[in-house]
């Protein structure tokens, strides 16, 4: 059991444990009532299939393929979203120019986007393109509101002391925007996993979780579909955890002025 620094943390662990246990119990009861693996396999069935599938080369190839697509889509939406959102936050006319596009992207159904992308891109890039279009508006909005969140009085102070623009950006604007950016990036990461796997289900690229999921569905292997879905959930959770660790490391970079003498 993990160690927690205080009793509140320990109490939260037990609440989390209780929630998970209740969910598994409800699933087990539902599977029992359904009475067919084809309709709803039990958690234990899924675990057994997961253990079997995870020992195959196909599993690891699918994990690697989907993971790379998610990273590609996430990195591009972060870069594009932060660049456009920062420009939109600093210059109102840029925001006015981009906002119809961003609103349109936000309102477009993901399936329509994937189907259209299938006309334009090779099957391996369809999920990436669709995920970028879904995650970009999230990052744009986070960056734009983050840039506007910088305290006006601190900006005035920085201008008065003629603090160089790049230092203002690194030490004032980015730390002020950071809570918005981190929350946006976390949402974008989850979105990328969902959209990439959905895109793979439809576009059927080689070495993909979505493709494996679709193949299992065609073979009426409901338990395998569950196993692939759980793999996706676990990978999404793991990447969000890794992202959290990375986000904590940012403090060491942004929360100190360069040039400070060694202590």
């Amino acid at each position: 059991m993990p160690e927690f620094p205080d009793s509140r943390g320990r109490s939260l662990f037990w609440w989390r444990f209780g929630g998970t246990a209740l969910f598994l119990l409800a699933w087990e009861v539902s599977a029992f009532l359904a009475g067919s693996r084809l309709v709803l396999p039990s958690p234990l069935d899924v675990l057994q299939v997961f253990a079997r599938v995870s020992q195959t080369a196909k599993f690891w190839q699918a994990v690697a393929g989907s993971f790379l697509r998610v990273i590609e889509a996430f990195a591009l939406s972060i870069v594009l979203g932060i660049a456009a959102g920062t420009a939109g936050g600093l210059k109102p006319h840029v925001d006015a120019f981009l906002s119809p596009l961003v609103t349109g992207m936000r309102a477009t159904p993901v399936l329509a986007l994937i189907l259209l992308a299938m006309f334009w891109f090779p099957s391996s890039q369809v999920p990436v393109f669709s995920a970028i279009l879904m995650a970009f508006p999230v990052m744009y909005t986070s960056a734009e509101s983050g840039v506007r969140a910088a305290d006006r009085k601190l900006v005035e102070m920085s201008r008065l002391f003629r603090v160089p623009r790049h230092i203002q950006l690194l030490r004032l604007h980015i730390p002020s925007a950071m809570p918005h950016l981190l929350s946006g990036a976390k949402n974008a990461l989850g979105l990328c996993w969902k959209v990439v796997v959905a895109g793979e289900v439809l576009s059927q690229p080689a070495k993909a979780l979505g493709t494996a999921m679709q193949e299992s569905r065609l073979m009426l292997e409901t338990t395998e579909v569950f196993a692939w879905a759980i793999t996706t959930v676990l990978l999404c959770g793991l990447s969000e955890y890794a992202f959290g660790l990375l986000a904590n490391a940012r403090k060491r970079f942004f929360h100190a002025m360069p040039g400070a003498p060694a202590k």
Binding site: K153, L154, E156, M157, S158, R159, L160, F161, R162, V163, P164, I167, R171, L172, P175, K251, F254, H255, A256, M257, G259, A260, P261, K263
Partner: protein
């Protein structure tokens, strides 16, 4: 050559804040603006700093003066330590060695030497104020603007900060423009006092204090006389 402010007027929408202010002050002198709360003293300082525009009137300063400002509120970056807050303000200076020496000196003079690695949220309100003052003193400027700089600190620290300020002023002779509502601060520090009335602020009177700061004794007859005149200008009986 003297600096001057001529017929300066400022409105915020329909609210007239400064009404035709005119006075002059000498380079390398300390000019105090004395007036009741809310009369527009900070607005005047912000206009002199170039942070807000005037509606009409002129400010004549010689060329583009470098400017340092101790704001009424500390305006610190919560995610930087005390010394990094000062370092941030000085980051435009080319001479790193000089910058570090000034940070060291003014943190020490503000009594924050042992709190240099603390974050603003770990400092008391008075310490945050002293840090903002250390930052304003450490930034080498020809024009130093102080907005209620010595308020919100206890008496002993106030005296130490005033000594630190006077040492800095004697060494580097910046032109100082300070805003306060404390007559004793004015009597101890200023070469010239401009008294403003309540909003919309007009100049009620200008008093020169022709005594070196180091030789001032509040109980002296000349200082008492000046104090009396200041109280008359702000419509208050001397205590």
């Amino acid at each position: 050559m003297s600096f001057s402010i001529r017929s300066l007027t400022k409105r915020f929408d329909s609210l007239l804040v400064l009404d035709q202010l005119s006075f002059s002050f000498e380079p390398s002198s300390i000019t105090a603006i004395l007036g009741p709360s809310g009369c527009g003293k900070t607005t005047l300082l912000n206009i002199v700093a170039g942070m807000i525009p005037t509606d009409s009137g002129d400010i004549e300063l010689s060329g583009q003066l470098s400017c340092s400002y101790c704001f009424q509120e500390p305006r610190l970056l919560d995610w930087l330590t005390a010394e990094d807050n000062v370092r941030y303000a000085l980051s435009g200076l080319a001479d790193r060695g000089r910058m570090e020496k000034r940070i060291e000196r003014f943190l020490r003079e503000a009594g924050l030497e042992s709190f240099r690695a603390y974050y603003p949220s770990q400092l008391s309100g008075g310490m945050q104020k002293r840090l903002a003052l250390a930052r304003a003193f450490a930034y080498p400027a020809e024009l130093l603007l102080l907005d209620e700089a010595f308020s919100a600190v206890d008496l002993r620290q106030k005296r130490e900060l005033m000594n630190a300020f006077l040492n800095l002023w004697k060494e580097e002779k910046p032109t100082v423009f300070m805003v306060t509502h404390d007559i004793h601060d004015v009597l101890l520090l200023a070469d010239k006092v401009v008294v403003l009335g309540p909003r919309p602020a007009k100049v009620r009177g200008i008093i020169d204090i022709p005594i070196l700061q180091s030789q001032r004794r509040l109980a002296d007859e000349q200082m008492s006389h000046i104090e009396q005149k200041l109280y008359e200008l702000i419509d208050m009986p001397a205590s």
